[in-house]
Symmetry: C2
C-alpha cells in the first residue's frame, strides 16, 4: 500500500483488498466467461471434429479433475508434447486449473533434450501425441523418476492407432469430472507455464510465465491486433511455441474459433481460409512464402481479408506486396520467449496507406512499438544503460520492462539476474530507435559480423539479398577471415523457377545495393536449415561457413 | 507468493518481482504510449479547438507539474467541477500523475452538497468552470480551510469572461513543465479517483477507485464493446459521472478522438455525427429519446453506423427499433458508481439478428453478463447468500466480485463493510437470472412496490407504459395505501404530439398488458424530474405520490 502520509492517507485506510474487490488476474477467467456466455459457439475445429465452448470447458475441467485425482497440485509440472490439436489447446486451461504449470515441448526436439527438459522442469505427467512415441519412450527412459505418460491418439494423425503410455487422453478425461471445481490461483504471480528456449548454444533455459502476464498478453493481443469477438483463428504457429503467443487465452477471451492444423502447407492454409472463413493467423515469415508460392491447385478463392501476424524477420517488400494482393494483411510483431511471445508490434498509421508500396513495406519492416500491456521498450547501450539516440542509425540492445516480461529462468538465478540487470530485460537483440519511436532489429548480438572493425548487420545484408527476384530464403553469417577478422557469408535458397543464378550475380547484385564492405564474399546455394518454428538455424550455418 | 510446497516450489523461488518484470497497472501508461505512437492524431475536438495527443499529453504533464509545484502529492485530492471540456479530460491524467486523487463533481449539485464533498474529500485544489462560479463561491465559503481555486474559462461557454479563483486554468498550466517527469504509482492499488454517489437518501458516499481498476476497465470497455483503434467518441455522457465510465482512459488506450459537448441536444448529436463522423457515444436512455424525437431540422444525414452504449434502464422495443432504423446500434450495459461504471453488458449473439424486432428488443433489454475484467456476477438472496434459481423469475439482489469493484467508501468503513458483506459487493438492485446466464434488473430494492403482500417491479409496470405510443417517459413508485399497503402510482410525460390521453386510457392499456394487481391506480401527467445524468428522481416522485 502506497501511503506517503503513512496511516494518515485516508485513501489507503480501511480500503484494503477483499474478495469482493480483488481477484487475481488469470486467463482461466476468460474460458469460464465464454463457456457461460457463448456455450454453443464453436471453440475448436479439427478435421471433422467440432467442439463448442461448453464442451471445451467441460473437457478442460475433466482434464483438471483427472490430473488432480492423480495428485497433481500447485507447483507441479505437466509437460505436453503435441501437434496443434485440441488436446494441447485444452492443456492451456486444464493444467493451470489444478495450480500446476504447463510445460509445452517442441515436437522436433531430440530425445536427449526432451529428457533434459522433463528432468529440469520436474514434470510428473507427460501428455504426448503417439506420433512422437519413439522420442518419448527414449526420453522417458533416460529419466530416473516415474512419469505418468498419457497418449494422445489424434484422429488426424497419419499413424494413429499405436498406443503410448499408461492410458490415452480420452480415457484419462473420463477420470475427471466435467464440473470439477477449480479455483483461480491465490496469487496472480503464480506460475502458469514453462517454456524452454530453443537453446542454440548450451542447454535450453526454462522461461516461467505467470497468470498475471498470461491474462494481460491475452488481452494485449486483442487490443494490439484490433480484434473483435469471434475471430476464426488458424493454428499455423505451433501452440507449443511461447504458448502459441498467448493465443489460446486470447481466443478464450474473444470467444473465437480455433482451426487446428497438424501440418502447415499452402493447400491446408488456403483450404481453411476458404472453408472455415479463417480471419486471423500467426506464423514465421516462412508461412508467408508458403502462401505466395502456392500453386494454382493449392490456391482457393475467398472474399474476405485475412489478418496475418508475423514476427521477428521483416518480410521483404516484394513478399508483402504479393501477399497483400492475394487478400492478406500483414502485421509485423516482435518478441521473445521471455516476453510471452509478441510484445512489440508495428502499429500502423492510416496515412501510410498513401505511400508507394516499397515505402509501406519499409515502414512495415520495422518491429514497431510496445504492446499496450508492456510498459517499457528501449534501445540502450548495455554497458552504460543509456538509450541510444533515436536516429535510426545507432545500434544498441533492445530492452523490455513490464508485466509481460517472464518471472525469470527456472532454477537459474544467475541467468535471471543477468537477463534483468539494471531493471530491464536484455533481449540480446541489436537494433535502432527511429525518430518516431519505432524500433527496428538489426541483429542478434551474436549475429553481428565484425569486418575490419566495422559492424555489419546480417539482417541488412539479407534484406539486400531478398530484393533479388530469384531468392526464396537468405541467411547471412560471419565467416572467420585472416585479413578482416570476419566477412559475410550468405546462404541462399532459390525459388523453384529461379533459373540460372550464379554466386557472382548475387554478389554483384549486393554491390548495387549495399556498401561494398557489407557484401557477402561467399554465396552458398541450397536448402537453409530451419527450426520447427521456421527460424533459420544460424549456428549450423556458422559451422558450415567456418569449414568452407 | 503462492507456494503450497513452501520454499520448495521451484516456480516461486528466486523468481520475484523486479522492475524489469513488474509494473503497477495504471491507465497513465496508455496516454504515454499513445502520445508516443500517434503524436499527431487528434485527441480532442471542442468547438473550433483541436488538440493532438502530443499536445494533450504535454498539457496533462503541465497540469501535473503545476499541481506538484503547488505542493500536491500522493494522497491529496484535486476536485474538478466542469462540463465535458478538454480540461476535465486532461484532469483524468494530470491529477493522478502527481499521485493525487481526482474528485469530479456533479455540476448540478447545490452549494451545500458541493461543500460537503470538498470537505469530506479533503480537496486542496478545486478546478472549476466559471459557469458554476456562484455555486463554487458559496460552497468554498462554507469550507473552513484554504482551497486553491482555478477557473476554467471555456471558449464554448455562453457566459465566458467572468473570472473565478486565484488563477485561470491556462495560466496555471504555464506554471508546469510540458516534460514534467511523472511516475507510475508505487502500488496499483493506490487511489486514482473519488466519485460521490448521487445520494438520493442521506449524504453522498465517496467511492474510491484505484489505478488497477481504472486500467482494467479502460481495457474492459475496448473488449466488451468490440472497439478497434481510433474511435471518434462523443461526450454525451457527463465525464464527471464515474469518470465518464472510464472512457477517458479507454480513449487514451485506443488513440481515439474525444468530441466534447457542453450541452447535449439532438441537434448537437446529429451535427457531431455528421461533421466529425462520431462512431461511439454513451448515455442515459434520455439521450436515445433526443435522437428519436429530433425534428427534421435537427437531423443530419450520415452513412456510417454509430454505436451507442446505454445503461441501466432498458430502452423499450419501440425506441430500439426507431433508433436502429436511424443508423445507430445500441448496446445495453449496467453498472454502478461502485463498479467503475459499466461492468455488465448485454453481449449479443449473432443468431439473435434473425429474431423479430420485439424479440430482439426483449433480448437487448436484459442487462446481460459480466465484463471480461469483472470476475463474478450473480443474483443472490442477500439473507442466505444463496444464488437464486436461473429461471428468469425469482428475484434476488445483484452482486459483483472482482477488480472493477471499488476500493470502498472513503472514511466510511461501516458502509464499506456492509456493501461488501460476505465477499460480494451488494448493488442494492433487484433482478433475476435467466436460464442463459443473463441478468435482468427488476428494481432497486427500495423501488419495489409491495401491494397486498405481492412484490411489484416498478420497471415491469414502466415497461408496460412505454409500450403506449403516447408515452415519452414513465416512472412508477409506491403510493401508501390503507388497504393494500402500497399501490403503484405512475408519473407519465407524454410526447408533444400525443393528443388527448386520459388516466383511464392509460390504466386500461396497462390492464391489457399486465396482471391487474400490478396496474397503476393513479396516473400523474407532467414532466418527470431527472438528475443531471438523466436518472429519474424517484424519491421526489415518492413524496408527490404520498401527498396525493
Amino acid at each position: 500500500m502506497t501511503a506517503e502520509k503513512g496511516g494518515e492517507n485516508p485513501f489507503e485506510t480501511n480500503l484494503d483488498r477483499n474478495s469482493a474487490n480483488y481477484t487475481p488476474l488469470s486467463p482461466l477467467s476468460f474460458i469460464e466467461r465464454t463457456a457461460g456466455v457463448y456455450p454453443h459457439r464453436t471453440s475448436i475445429i479439427h478435421g471433422t471434429k467440432r467442439f463448442t465452448w461448453a464442451e471445451t470447458y467441460a473437457r478442460c475441467r475433466r482434464l483438471a479433475g483427472a490430473l488432480a485425482g492423480r495428485g497433481v497440485k500447485v507447483g507441479d509440472t505437466v509437460a505436453v508434447m503435441a501437434a496443434n490439436t485440441p488436446e494441447l489447446f485444452e492443456s492451456h486451461f486444464g493444467v493451470p486449473m489444478t495450480g500446476a504449470v504447463l510445460n509445452t515441448l517442441n515436437v522436433r526436439l531430440d530425445a536427449d533434450t526432451i529428457a533434459y527438459c522433463l528432468d529440469h522442469g520436474e514434470a510428473t505427467v507427460l501428455i504426448a501425441d503417439t506420433e512422437f512415441r519413439e522420442t518419448i519412450k527414449e526420453a522417458v527412459g533416460k529419466i530416473d523418476r516415474d512419469i505418468l505418460v498419457i497418449g494422445i491418439d489424434d484422429s488426424e494423425a497419419r499413424d494413429s492407432g499405436a498406443r503410448l503410455g499408461e492410458t490415452d487422453y480420452e480415457g484419462f478425461l473420463e477420470e475427471g469430472d466435467p464440473e470439477f471445481e477449480w479455483s483461480l490461483p491465490d496469487d496472480e504471480w503464480q506460475a502458469i507455464s514453462l517454456n524452454y528456449t530453443s537453446g542454440t548454444t548450451g542447454r535450453p533455459k526454462g522461461v516461467v510465465y505467470h497468470h498475471r502476464g498470461a491474462y494481460l498478453n491475452g488481452l494485449g493481443n486483442v487490443i494490439n491486433w484490433n480484434m473483435v469477438q469471434h475471430p476464426v483463428y488458424l493454428w499455423t504457429l505451433p501452440m507449443f511455441h511461447c504458448n502459441g503467443w498467448c493465443f489460446p487465452w486470447t481466443l478464450a477471451a474473444v470467444a473465437g474459433t480455433s482451426v487446428c492444423l497438424r501440418k502447415v502447407s499452402a493447400a491446408a492454409i488456403y483450404a481453411a481460409v476458404a472453408e472455415h472463413r479463417v480471419t486471423h493467423f500467426c506464423g514465421a515469415p516462412i508461412v508467408l512464402n508458403f502462401i505466395i508460392n502456392a500453386t494454382g491447385e493449392e490456391r482457393r478463392d475467398f472474399d474476405h481479408t485475412v489478418q496475418i501476424m508475423t514476427a521477428a524477420a521483416p518480410p521483404p517488400a516484394s513478399t508483402l506486396e504479393a501477399i497483400e494482393r492475394a487478400g492478406f494483411r500483414v502485421t509485423h510483431a516482435y518478441g521473445l520467449t521471455e516476453t510471452y511471445g509478441p510484445a512489440v508490434s508495428c502499429a500502423w498509421h492510416e496515412e501510410w496507406n498513401g505511400l508507394p508500396a516499397n515505402e509501406q513495406a519499409q515502414k512495415k519492416s520495422r518491429q514497431g512499438v510496445r504492446y499496450h500491456v508492456l510498459q517499457g521498450l528501449t534501445v540502450m547501450d548495455p554497458e552504460t544503460m543509456v538509450p541510444v539516440p533515436a536516429d535510426g542509425e545507432t545500434m544498441g540492445e533492445i530492452m523490455f520492462q513490464g508485466n509481460i516480461v517472464m518471472k525469470g529462468y527456472l532454477k537459474n538465478p544467475e541467468a535471471t539476474g543477468e537477463a534483468m540487470a539494471g531493471g530491464w530485460f536484455h533481449s540480446g537483440d541489436l537494433g535502432v530507435m527511429h525518430p518516431d519511436g519505432y524500433i527496428q532489429l538489426r541483429d542478434r548480438s551474436k549475429d553481428v559480423i565484425i569486418s575490419g572493425g566495422e559492424n555489419i548487420s546480417s539482417i541488412e545484408v539479407e534484406d539486400a539479398l531478398y530484393k533479388h527476384p530469384a531468392v526464396m530464403t537468405a541467411a547471412v553469417v560471419a565467416k572467420p577471415d585472416e585479413k578482416w577478422g570476419e566477412t559475410p557469408c550468405a546462404f541462399v535458397e532459390l525459388k523453384a523457377d529461379a533459373g540460372d543464378v550464379t554466386a557472382e550475380d548475387m554478389i554483384n547484385f549486393c554491390r548495387d545495393n549495399l556498401a561494398h564492405f557489407k557484401c557477402p564474399r561467399h554465396i552458398v546455394f541450397g536448402e537453409v536449415p530451419k527450426t520447427s518454428t521456421g527460424k533459420i538455424q544460424k549456428f549450423k550455418l556458422r559451422e558450415t561457413a567456418t569449414a568452407l
